[in-house]
């Protein structure tokens, strides 16, 4: 178990490590493989990994149900926290690198640009989930913990929307994530419907 967890940590940190290395060479040499507009590349990549990890975290439940391996659940919190980690770095890059010197622009951007509004909202909603991810908080919140953490569905929708509204005309990449999300959420709806039907049938007998 400890090895599996270490492996997840290592995998989740790899994109950040690669990026950190490229940023280092960018600072030192001016060509770190981040392209002509390194700031945009850093933002984009951090955002993409936040979204990917969120999708992977959402895939845990269906995978557990399909495989019957309850042990998978132990990785869900870790993956969710890494999604928050990348989302926070994504926001930090936007504030520190992109808006550098124009921080006052942030309020205007959040208010005026729908894609930034939903992206920022998604990050805000992640905070209570991250804060309540400890065992202690789980115990203290009891049933309400599960209810609170259903926010992740809204967050995922906002995150995909954030990506979708950002592209100019080629929607293929955000469409891919929207499809994955639809499958992940659709699975849950389908399960709920099927369970309800089973209960009704059992009650009728």
């Amino acid at each position: 178990m400890i090895w599996a967890k270490l492996a997840v940590h290592a995998l989740a940190l790899t994109p950040a490590a690669i990026l950190a290395w490229q940023i280092r060479s960018e600072v030192l040499t001016g060509s770190g493989g981040l392209g002509a507009d390194p700031i945009a590349e850093i933002e984009h990549r951090l955002g993409l990994w936040a979204l990917r990890l969120l999708m992977i975290a959402l895939a845990v439940t269906p995978l557990r149900q399909l495989s019957g391996q309850p042990v998978l659940l132990r990785f869900r919190r870790l993956l969710g926290l890494y999604a928050f980690f990348y989302a926070s770095l994504h926001l930090t890059a936007y504030l520190v690198l992109d808006l550098k010197g124009y921080w006052t622009q942030i309020f205007e951007e959040i208010a005026k640009r729908p894609y930034i509004t939903v992206g920022f909202l998604a990050w805000l909603l992640l905070i209570p989930l991250a804060v309540t991810s400890t065992q202690g908080m789980m115990r203290r919140l009891g049933r309400r913990w599960g209810q609170l953490h259903q926010l992740v569905y809204a967050i995922a929708v906002l995150a995909v929307l954030h990506f979708w509204w950002l592209v100019k005309s080629d929607i293929r990449e955000p469409l891919l994530y929207a499809t994955i999300l639809a499958v992940l959420l659709g699975w849950r709806v389908w399960r709920k419907v099927a369970e309800a039907r089973l209960r009704r049938r059992a009650a009728a007998q």
């Binding site: 940023i23 960018e26 600072v27 030192l28 040499t29 001016g30 060509s31 392209g35 002509a36 507009d37 390194p38 700031i39 945009a40 690198l97 992109d98 808006l99 550098k100 010197g101 124009y102 622009q105 205007e108 951007e109 005026k112 640009r113 729908p114 894609y115 509204w165 950002l166 100019k168 005309s169 080629d170 293929r172």
Partner: protein, 323 residues
Amino acid sequence: MSLRDALAIPSSQITDEAVYRERRRLLAAFALTPALGLSGCAEAEPPAPRSLPAASPEQMKAGFRTDEVLTRYEDITTYNNFYEFGTDKSDPSRAERTLRTSPWTVAVGGACAKPGKLSLEDLIKGLAPQERIYRLRCVEGWSMVIPWLGVPLADVLKRFEPTSKAKYVAFTTLADRKQMPGLAYPSINWPYREGLRIDEAMHPLTLLATGLYGKSLPQQNGAPLRLVVPWKYGFKSIKSIIAITFVERRPLTSWNDLQPSEYGFFSNVNPSVDHPRWSQKTERRIAGTGSKLFVDRIPTRLFNGYGDQVASLYAGMSLRLWF
């Protein structure tokens, strides 16, 4: 041997400004452009370099030159929006050299006395290529400073003797599935189209570019012939032109057609008219060597700083309405 080969210098050196200044003197000596059919001349002994005069005050005043720090050749040629080769900015330079730029013909027609289908060489015959150093501002909020080589569009258009009915000029990009892999996906209603009002087209700043950094244009930058309209957002500067038509009515333009609320026909750079996704107040300048990680945004200027030259074209027009 093409001129591009003859003047091949590793891109690592091209980025160096001192080297570039040196090259400019050579270029002047060569009176270059491959379009003029000078291939072969490079094999002769280069004439003694005569120095290209530094930008004169007149050139600076006309907006033909700027002394701002240049964008590296490497950055200009690897960061391109040219959806015919893919929608990622690195796609056009990564794509195989699939675009056949020679021979190249341009059809000029519509409201003019002398329409015709000409080879690129004939189109610009006798017009000496000029070097222009322009700012390029992309609607996405980044900008570059690019040394183009080209001829004023007005000089080319006048040869076709546009009639009084020519109120606008329409341009079309090549759309050939065999040469352009991006056409497989309808990100734009192919072919890509752009247009200018006739007075904008005839403005001395409007350039038909055939070269970049003294070399012929690479595929990703719109080889072999592209428009450069420095006071408008980059997408107005249509690439790989195959047709120029004089028309009476405002022509259809690709981005305007795709999303008229976001991309106006005029698309003049204007910090006070926002795009729904990008504030146009500031921009990130991609220029110079060294790390671009900690550069500040710079304020965007009305007409991309070419207001002295072009503001009169829009006198009395609401730039908010006619964005």
